[in-house]
């Protein structure tokens, strides 16, 4: 009896450990798109050049109508967006803190994100 209880507790603990590892190690694929989009009648225009960097990592630059893929682990991230014109002159720099759920694939439209005034943004995407 004691043995069974012990084994059951052990299994429960291991399952919990598994869940914890799942949450801890989940990698999200984030596609950052820099395209003009229509959202509920409002048109957000894409910038000519956007530099994207997550958590102080090296910046990735994308041009108008382009996209870039990022892989992130963990839920809370600091995102730095540098908007520039055709000649590469920086127009403005926006810093945001974003929170991710456990979804695996997330797609972000940069123009909309830039217009979003909230400091903390939650991003959800496809679970698988």
């Amino acid at each position: 009896m004691k043995r069974t209880v012990f084994i059951l507790i052990l299994i429960a603990l291991l399952v919990l450990l598994g869940v914890w590892m799942f949450v801890l190690g989940r990698q999200r694929t984030i596609v950052m798109r820099n395209e003009d989009i229509d959202r509920q009648g409002i048109t957000y225009e894409a910038a000519q050049i956007v530099g994207i960097s997550f958590d102080g990592a090296e910046e990735k630059e994308i041009t108008y109508d382009d996209a870039a893929i990022f892989y992130l682990v963990g839920s809370s991230h600091k995102l730095k967006l540098r908007v520039a014109d055709e000649d590469g002159n920086t127009l403005r720099v926006v810093e945001k803190t974003i929170k991710l759920d456990l979804s695996k694939n997330i797609s972000v439209d940069i123009p909309e994100l830039l217009e979003n005034k909230e400091e903390v943004i939650k991003l959800t995407g496809k679970m698988w």
Partner: protein, 376 residues
């Protein structure tokens, strides 16, 4: 017994009982200069391979202690480890959590397979090695059935980079980018140009301690008793069959972890073939390290891994430089590695036969000597 032996006899004994490692050291010593590899490269390669392979090889120890011979059934554990890795890749769990999760997933599968393997081997006492060898092929069929037909269909695996475009079955190579060498680089250390996978070494050290401790436990003692004589152990109240199963279960679970460590270093999983050679190579390594079917120690493991893999690295190049044809070098390597295993096994079996004969003779001799002593 040993104090009666002269020095030359001792020397002879040493050479006979270490014939395989000595033979190997000689071959390697000859092959290294011919291969033309730099010292840095070889040292780096050996360190990497110790990290990559020794966990797998260590998993062989327990069944040997329990007298069950070389556990060719360790490939069962390897398959369980691979299933764990497939799942974490599908869920895209990366880094150390990913590997820990893969191990957690592999554990119950390994335990089930281990129980199966152990029970089968209990029905094939005395033929454990051949049986576990074939059992590996059998379970390989089941593994293919599961991975190639069930996964993506009955078992949910969704990632398009994993599932074949036909909708079910896993692709034949799985890139393990997310977990590539995370154990190795857990504690980064570089001496000169040589990087040392300290994290993996740490895990291996833990396993060594576990094995040392385990040998002293009641269970470990039981295993040794069973290896000595199954019937005596049985009459002494040791549950022989159960203990044998436990030793296989532990070995299988460890092999599963070992395969995960192996593959995190390799960075690529060849879905249907990565486990093929695990058993054969691990067994080759431990035999070359001087272990026998009935006796193996932790030093055997490390010596074996170094010698076996040293030959692995240098012999194709050496063969090429010696004979001048690249493919001859490749065949030469395989010939040597399989040949050595055969020789090691033959030498061991032969020696055991000799020992038996000697025992018989000395038994007679002791009896003969004893009688006059009794008169005194």
């Amino acid at each position: 017994m040993s104090q009666n032996l002269t020095f030359t006899e001792k020397l002879k004994n040493f050479f006979i009982s270490n014939a395989v490692p000595i033979l190997f050291v000689v071959i390697t010593l000859l092959a290294v200069p011919v291969s033309g590899f730099s010292a840095n490269y070889l040292i780096q390669e050996m360190i990497t391979r110790i990290g990559r392979n020794s966990f797998l090889v260590l998993s062989l120890l327990l069944p040997i202690i329990a007298g069950m011979g070389l556990n060719f059934g360790m490939v069962l554990g390897a398959m369980a480890g691979q299933i764990g890795l497939i799942f974490i890749t599908d869920w895209s769990i990366v880094g150390i959590p990913g590997l820990v999760l893969a191990m957690l997933i592999s554990t119950p599968i390994s335990i089930l397979l281990g129980i199966l393997c152990g029970s089968v081997l209990n029905r094939a006492k005395g033929r454990e090695m051949a049986t576990s060898y074939i059992l590996g092929f059998f379970i390989n069929g089941v593994y293919q059935l599961v991975v190639l037909y069930f996964m993506g269909g009955i078992i949910p695996v969704k990632s398009p980079s994993l599932v074949l475009s036909r909708g079910y079955g896993i692709r034949n190579t799985v890139a393990l980018d997310g977990v590539r060498q995370v154990f190795d680089n857990m504690i980064p250390l570089k001496i000169g140009e040589i990087s040392i996978p300290l994290g993996t070494f740490f895990i291996i050290a833990l396993l060594c301690l576990f094995i040392l401790w385990f040998r002293k436990t009641k269970l470990g003692q039981d295993m040794r008793a069973i290896a000595q004589d199954m019937k005596v152990a049985q009459s002494a109240g040791i549950p022989v069959d159960r203990t044998r199963i436990i030793s296989i279960v532990i070995s299988t679970v460890l092999a599963g972890y070992g395969q995960i460590i192996f593959l995190q270093n390799m960075g690529t999983l060849s879905t249907y073939n990565s486990h093929d050679q695990t058993g054969v190579f691990s067994i080759a390594a431990i035999l070359i390290g001087g272990a026998t079917v009935s006796r193996a120690t932790i030093p055997n493991v490390f010596i074996g891994v170094i010698l076996f893999h040293m030959m692995f690295v240098v012999s194709p190049m050496a063969g090429k430089n010696l004979i001048g044809q690249a493919m001859l070098g490749e065949y030469f390597r395989q010939f040597i590695s399989y040949g050595i295993i055969a020789i090691a096994l033959v030498l061991h079996a032969w020696r055991r036969q000799k020992d038996k004969e000697m025992e018989r003779r000395s038994l007679r001799g002791v009896k003969a000597e004893k009688q006059p002593q009794a008169e005194k």
